[in-house]
Assembly symmetry: C2
Homo-oligomer: 345 residues x 2
DNA sequence: CGCAGTCGTGTAATCGATTCCATGACGATC
DNA sequence: GATCGTCATGGAATCGATTACACGACTGCG
């Protein structure tokens, strides 16, 4: 593979001149520039990003450590992150933590070793020493979706409180009184917050959220199945299950189906995070939709701001309720088109 | 950030000794080793992967250029690729081509500039000059899922022919005679092959595949919707639509639903690529399942073989039919459990 | 006791870029 | 015509690692 020296030799100039042409520095004669460009062309030369990064101490790369790529919500987040980053001249390296703190640390370490310019994290736990060290060392960082309390890092996330209130209003209106939730890991902010928002919304209707109706999940389908089975085995099972993410909703659906029961007749179901397939499930699933693409883009902008020395601020966007049929009688009118979901709030 | 020089100074040895300790080279005294490790500890030193890569001309990184991350099939592929690569001591950088040749080239160029050790590609088109140049230049490469004919690169893929035959047998047995397909782009091997396999399987039953029953899709949901609408507008619409990937099946479902029609009564539906949600759609969708995880792992092994100087061979694994209810009367027995899908062949 | 071989260590070259500094040519100004 | 500034260019240092080579100390053997 041709190096800058080869180009310099071919063009009959010094490496300094080649470098200047490549970085279009003003003081290069038109003639030298032409000769260099011709040499670049004939040799098929491409600058070595590794060498360049060593010298400039910049990689123009962002790290994205995500809780679980197989979760469509995070897949979409990753996609929007990459798009916005590309638009701003950065590449993205994704690390999939699979909801495992050890894997998360592995990826953070790997990304730091590669000297990425900044880190976007959706933390799987309450903050490992490694992550806290990275923050202390001044690594530009932004949290997205989930965050670690008490750490001075901008957070870009959706606020589900209003939507959860809308959901509970909807459920209450359908006559449901025994409402249960499949929570995410207590170590995550979203795991805790969604339970709190739910409890608070129930309180407004004078309803309780007993411990037996709080199932401990881990944001994976299997835990949704397991928790739902537990709910169904209760002497007084809930009438509604609210899954704190879409994968646990899938598991809940599996569990209900395995018992030969039906949604919503035997058990109503709602989920946090809307995905395209929810329109076509049996029945279509009522969900709380996050502005995922906008979150990803805002997170990248905040991170790049930090990297380039600007403040980089936190952003909170509202989530919204999308009513379908999984909680009971269909809404007044069907969704106008399969492509767009109707919001009720 | 501390460098190897700082460690050397702290430990009172030369940088060479530090490097030897770090790469556990045999000839270092126990005492020097201890002092170096202590210094590494107190400084929180981590080797700079950029500098190391420059010197060793190895990045221990694989590039994965994938057609579309939002497609669950590719998401799963990416996940298994990363897992196997990690097990073999490599990291993976993913580039999402979004089915766009220009984006694909962008990512290939970017990865090449970063001097990745090898490239895993699921080509979106018939092979850009850039990609062909990379092959010619000797970049270790392996194609996965799709490939470019006439290029000497190992291919790891699933063979769907048997499963497509099984599917057509199933459809024929249900009494369907007018079968249509939503094809993928003709520039991709999977786009062409699936049509050919379908045509051939139909032939075995004396059935034709008229041009009107071949819809041109692009592996994205919108095209599935558009093509299905076209089919439904035909004077003699097909009885079955076979979508060449799961996203186009989603689009087909949208289209059928928008007309107020039902699957399978008004139009039967089958898809290439099985995903977890197909169990819970209305109705559950009959699909051809690829051994996705095994494909990803095999592809990484082949690529790493190439990188480390071993041959690196092509692998073809069989896909299998998973019968559900989207084509007509349910199979003899229901799926035994939601977690495992029953194969019929 | 002397010589060869082994072992631990340091010096310095190297990877491929960027960039500071020096130099020479040339034009403008007084 | 001397002086100064600008411009194009090249030489060399530098980033942070790895590694070939040299060297001194020590061991073992004849």
């Amino acid at each position: 593979m041709a190096s800058i020296k080869d180009v310099a030799a071919e063009a009959g100039v010094s490496v300094a001149t080649v470098s200047r042409v490549l970085n279009d520095h003003p003081s290069v004669s038109a003639e030298a520039r032409a000769r260099v460009l011709a040499a670049v062309e004939t040799l098929g030369y491409r600058p070595n990003a590794v060498a360049r990064s060593l010298r400039t101490a910049q990689t123009h790369t962002l790290g994205l450590v995500i809780s679980d790529v197989m979760n469509p919500y995070f897949t979409e987040l990753a996609r929007s992150v990459e798009e916005e980053a590309r638009a701003l001249g950065y590449s993205v390296i994704i690390g999939n933590a699979d909801e495992r703190p050890d894997l998360q640390d592995h990826h953070v370490r790997n990304l730091l070793d590669r000297r990425i310019d900044g880190l976007l994290v959706s933390p799987t736990d309450g903050g490992s020493p490694l992550m806290l060290d990275a923050v202390r060392a001044g690594t530009p960082m932004v949290f997205v979706d989930r965050w670690i309390p008490g750490v001075d890092v901008p957070v870009v996330r959706a606020d589900g409180q209003g939507a959860v209130r809308d959901l509970v209003a909807h459920l209450h209106g359908l006559g449901h009184r025994r409402l249960a939730i499949i929570a995410g890991p207590a170590a995550t902010t979203t795991g805790r917050e969604r339970v709190e928002a739910f409890r608070e919304a129930l309180g407004a209707y004078g309803l309780e959220l007993p411990d037996a109706y709080i199932g401990q999940g881990d944001f994976q389908a299997d835990s949704g199945r397991r928790v739902t089975e537990g709910f169904l085995d209760l002497p007084e099972p809930p009438e509604v299950v609210f899954a704190a993410d879409n994968l646990m909703a899938l598991g809940a659906l599996d569990a209900v189906r395995a018992r030969g029961l039906r949604v919503p007749d035997d058990l109503a179901l709602a989920a946090f995070d809307d995905i395209r397939w929810f329109v076509h499930t049996d029945p279509p699933i009522t969900a709380i939709a996050q502005p995922t693409g906008e979150l990803g883009r805002a997170a990248v902008r905040a991170l790049v701001d930090r990297i380039e020395g600007r403040p980089g601020e936190s952003v909170t966007l509202p989530a919204r309720l999308v009513v379908r049929r999984s909680c009971g009688e269909p809404p007044a009118s069907a969704e106008p088109s399969p492509a767009t979901n109707r919001s009720q709030s």
